[in-house]
Structures are given as structure tokens and as C-alpha cells.
Symmetry: C2
Subunit: 289 residues, 2 copies
């Protein structure tokens, strides 16, 4: 089974824990809407790739960890799009959850997706109980305080913010968790795998900043110019487009160099290079640079 | 150490996972404000009492489970009070979190408290790894879909709602989790302990409905008449005050009778009777009945 199918299967399996008789139908519909059809599933693919590089027999547990991370990512998008933050009309080319289902259900769907993350992990533990706590710690730290997604978003509510701290918390943390949890799912120590995730997360954030600054809504499927509109830190606004693109190239090279020694290191390095090419902004950014 | 001190210590310990250098100060402040000083801490006290009845040596793990449950409870109050739902000005006699810190930070504080729940559980697992998954499953099911708090709140967004389903999800689920997790923390099977929690949860909900219908804001420290204002199901509105009070008495008696056999059953039964007396509405309700 290819990685993408494995991830979709795991996400479908996660919903089997939530979508049971007696569940409120609109809540379940809002949760599904937030998760399916997804985006690139870049974080769970990273989890699977790291686990496969550590131990090819770990795919089932890695898929559960990857699904958990993707559920958290989707939850964070649902809450970020709400009127309290971006008040975004669209996401992935269609109405954002709070526009499609209303703000109350968007708030609850985000909450329930966070919880479903941990239900998914708990269920997966039957396969390897000793790996549950390390996977949980990796994933929970990526979304809570002090350095997770919620903390990253909270920096938008502080009078002063350091760009690196903000982006590491808001984006980098979940990428670092994706690599750490992949290693943990394979029974490996997770910490040495964090730098790979951190560099990729930084690269992804810079790519996102570039897209927000130079792409159209039709190209992205979500509103653009949001960082200017919300007075948020943005690498292009801070360093200019050419420097931002050069910075992105440096970060993806560092990511490839940060892969720890393991049986599948060469394959993983090739995959990271391929994925990094996808992160580079499209023609327009390349021309602008 | 008495139960109350043990719970406060565990909650303080949980914050040591979140309140670290580099955390956004206002997020941490909002999270602390939501948790300290607390209310009656009735759910974690139930967890500790059940664990003590099963195995008196389980207090440390039970305190972690109890803290996790209380963090979830506080998170649910923060989100329930937001403009998307009750839009409540006050909670526990002072401004609700969204009034004190603004809606964006209230949203994030609730999210971060949900996550802190699972971080707390993961950390506690070092003591007894095999008990982590059962405790997690008990606690996660109480807050997600299909039958947890988020589902209960979501029923407010559905065109039709069954009162029993609504209250079981919104209140009963966390009480059932409190007893189940207490047993799991002591290494006992959790399922037989759920009826005790379910009956107490139902009793607590009826008591809350009575308070909302007949108490003053000064007595409760939070707005009253909310069920009428928000057109929500309420036992007093549905069955009248005398019948609601009689129903509450029946539920607390069933709770005491539902305690499974265990070494500390007699002590626990006495404690439940004592606590049940606290649930009964004060003088005014007794007179009204």
C-alpha cells in the first residue's frame, strides 16, 4: 500500500472511533469536512517516511501516528480560520468550516478533532504499548504550550513577537513532531529526528509566507495577503522576496543533511529532496527571485 | 495528604509541563486563570475516591488522572462561556476567561488545556505504562465524539435533541470517565465503575438545572436563567421543580447502590452519600419542593 492510501485509511479508521450511532450528525459532518478531502498530507507522509527509514515493519503504528498528526493539523486550521483569528472565508478552495457549519460547530469540531488525535493514539497502543507514551509526548508537545501550535497562535495575541519563535511554534513544532513520532513509532529514540522536522517546518513556513505574499486566491484555494491584513510576521515582508527564496533553499538543504543514520537514510534523503522541490514557490516566485 | 491538596498539587504539576521559558505569557495566564482557583473539584475527587477504594497505593497515578479530568472540565467551561455558546460574562464569581483575556486567547487556552490533559497523562505513564491506554481511552471518550462533552455541546446545534442523550454527553460522560479512570489508575477494569459515575453525573446535571432555574447569580457566581435564555433543555422546565428534586434524590441513591465490590466499598459509599447531600439544592429548592 502506498503512503497516501495508508494515511487515508488511517484517517478513515480514526473516524470509526467518533462516527458511531448516537453521535450528533452535524458535528461529525463538520469534522469530516475539515479532514476530507485533505491537502497534501505532508506531515503524516513525513511520519511514515521516517518510520520506514528506521524500521520498515513499523508502517501500521506509523500510520496511526501520522493520522493523529494530520487530525491535529486539521483541527488547528479549523480554529485558525474562525472569526477570532483569520476570519477566513475559504480553505482548500471551498468555504471554511465556520462558514459551512457556523462558528459554534467549528469550535466544537476543532476540539473534537484534538481529542480524536489522542483516541487514535490510544487505540494504536494495542500494537506496541511501550511506544504510546513517547508518541504521545512528541505529538502533544507540538500542539500545546509552551512551544506548540496553540502557543504559536497565542503569540499573535502578545504585544511583541520574535519571528523565529512564532514560526517554530505555529508550524515547525508539528513538523518536528511528525519526524519524532515517526521514529518513536518505529521504536527509535525520537529526539535525533527533530532537526529534520524543524528545518522542513521552517522551509514550509517560508514557502507559505511567499505564497501568501505573491499568489492568488485561485492558486491557493484560500485567501491570500492574510499576513498583511492581520499584521502578522511574514518572511517576505521582513526580508524581501529574493532573500526569502534563498533562505528557503538553504533550509531544505539543511533538512536533507539532518537525517540521522538509519537503514533507509539514502531513500529518505532522496524523498526529502523531491518533497523540497514541491515546497519551492511556483514559477512566479522563481521569476520574482 | 488530603484529596484536595493532592489534586491541587497535581494541577500545579501539570502546569509545569506548559509554563516553561519561551511560552507566550498571556496564554499561560489565561490557562491558569481558567484552572485556579477552582470550584469544588468534584470530578477529580471522585477519581481519587474510586482509586482509593480499589487500591490505596494508587493515589499518585489517580491524582494525575484526576488532574487530567479537571483540566478537561476547565477547558470545556472556557469554550462553553464563549460568544459562540453561552456568551457568559462571569464564571466562579469573576469575569469569564473570554471577558478577562478576549475570545482569541479563550479559544486557545481551551485548546491548550485539552492538550495539557494528555501531556499530563503521558507523563504519569512512567509510573505504570500499562495503565496509560485504559486511562486515556476513558478520559478521551468523555470529551470527544460520539458521546463526550463536545458531542453534548454539539447537540445544541442540532434541530432536535433528546434530553437524556444531551445531558449524558455534556455532563455524565466526564463523571463516568472520572470513576472509570480512577479504577484504571488502580489497575482495575474501568467499565464496572461507569454506572456510579453516570448516576452521579445525571444527579449533578439535575442539580445544576435546578440551580439555573431558581438561584441568583450572587449565589452561583455565574449567570442564571441561561437554559431559558438559550432555549436549552432543563429538567426543571421539562418536569417541574418538585419532580426534578425527587428525581435528584433517586439518582443519588442509585449512585450509592452502583458501587462495585472492592476493598474500600463501604468508605466510598459513605463518601458518596455525603457528597450527594451537597448536590441537593439549598434551602430554597427544598422549600419549593
Amino acid at each position: 500500500m502506498d503512503a497516501r492510501s495508508r494515511i487515508e485509511d488511517s484517517l478513515t479508521g480514526a473516524f470509526a472511533l467518533a462516527d458511531l450511532p448516537g453521535a450528533p450528525p452535524r458535528l461529525i459532518a463538520a469534522m469530516r469536512y475539515a479532514v476530507f478531502p485533505g491537502g497534501a498530507r505532508i506531515r503524516p507522509r513525513l511520519t511514515l517516511a521516517v518510520a520506514a527509514a528506521c524500521d520498515p515493519r513499523s508502517a501500521a503504528l506509523a500510520a496511526a501516528a501520522g493520522a493523529a498528526i494530520e487530525l491535529l493539523h486539521c483541527a488547528s486550521l479549523v480554529h485558525d480560520d474562525m472569526p477570532e483569528f483569520d476570519n477566513a472565508d475559504t480553505r482548500r478552495g471551498r468555504p471554511a468550516v465556520h462558514r459551512a457549519y457556523g462558528a459554534p460547530l467549528a469550535l466544537l469540531a476543532g476540539d473534537a478533532l484534538i481529542v480524536l488525535t489522542f483516541q487514535t493514539l490510544a487505540e494504536s497502543a494495542a500494537r506496541a504499548p511501550a511506544r504510546l507514551a513517547p508518541m504521545m509526548r512528541a505529538i502533544a508537545s507540538a500542539v500545546g504550550a509552551p512551544h506548540g501550535i496553540a502557543a504559536g497562535q497565542a503569540w499573535e495575541c502578545e504585544p511583541a513577537v520574535d519571528l523565529a519563535t512564532y514560526q517554530q511554534a505555529k508550524t515547525g513544532a508539528l513538523f518536528a513532531a511528525a519526524t519524532e513520532a515517526g521514529a518513536a513509532a518505529a521504536g527509535h529514540e525520537g529526539a535525533p529526528w527533530r532537526p529534520l522536522g524543524e528545518f522542513l517546518g521552517q522551509a514550509y513556513q517560508v514557502a507559505d509566507d511567499i505564497s501568501d505574499a505573491i499568489c492568488t486566491e485561485a492558486e491557493l484555494g484560500k485567501p491570500v495577503g492574510q499576513d498583511v491584513a492581520h499584521d502578522r510576521p511574514n518572511a517576505v515582508l521582513q526580508m524581501g522576496l529574493p532573500t526569502a527564496v534563498a533562505h528557503l533553499q538553504t533550509l531544505t538543504a539543511r533538512a536533507a543533511a539532518a537525517i540521522p543514520e538509519c537503514v533507509g537514510a539514502a531513500d529518505l534523503r532522496a524523498l526529502i529532496r523531491l518533497e523540497s522541490a514541491r515546497l519551492m514557490p511556483k514559477q512566479r516566485a522563481a521569476q520574482a527571485a
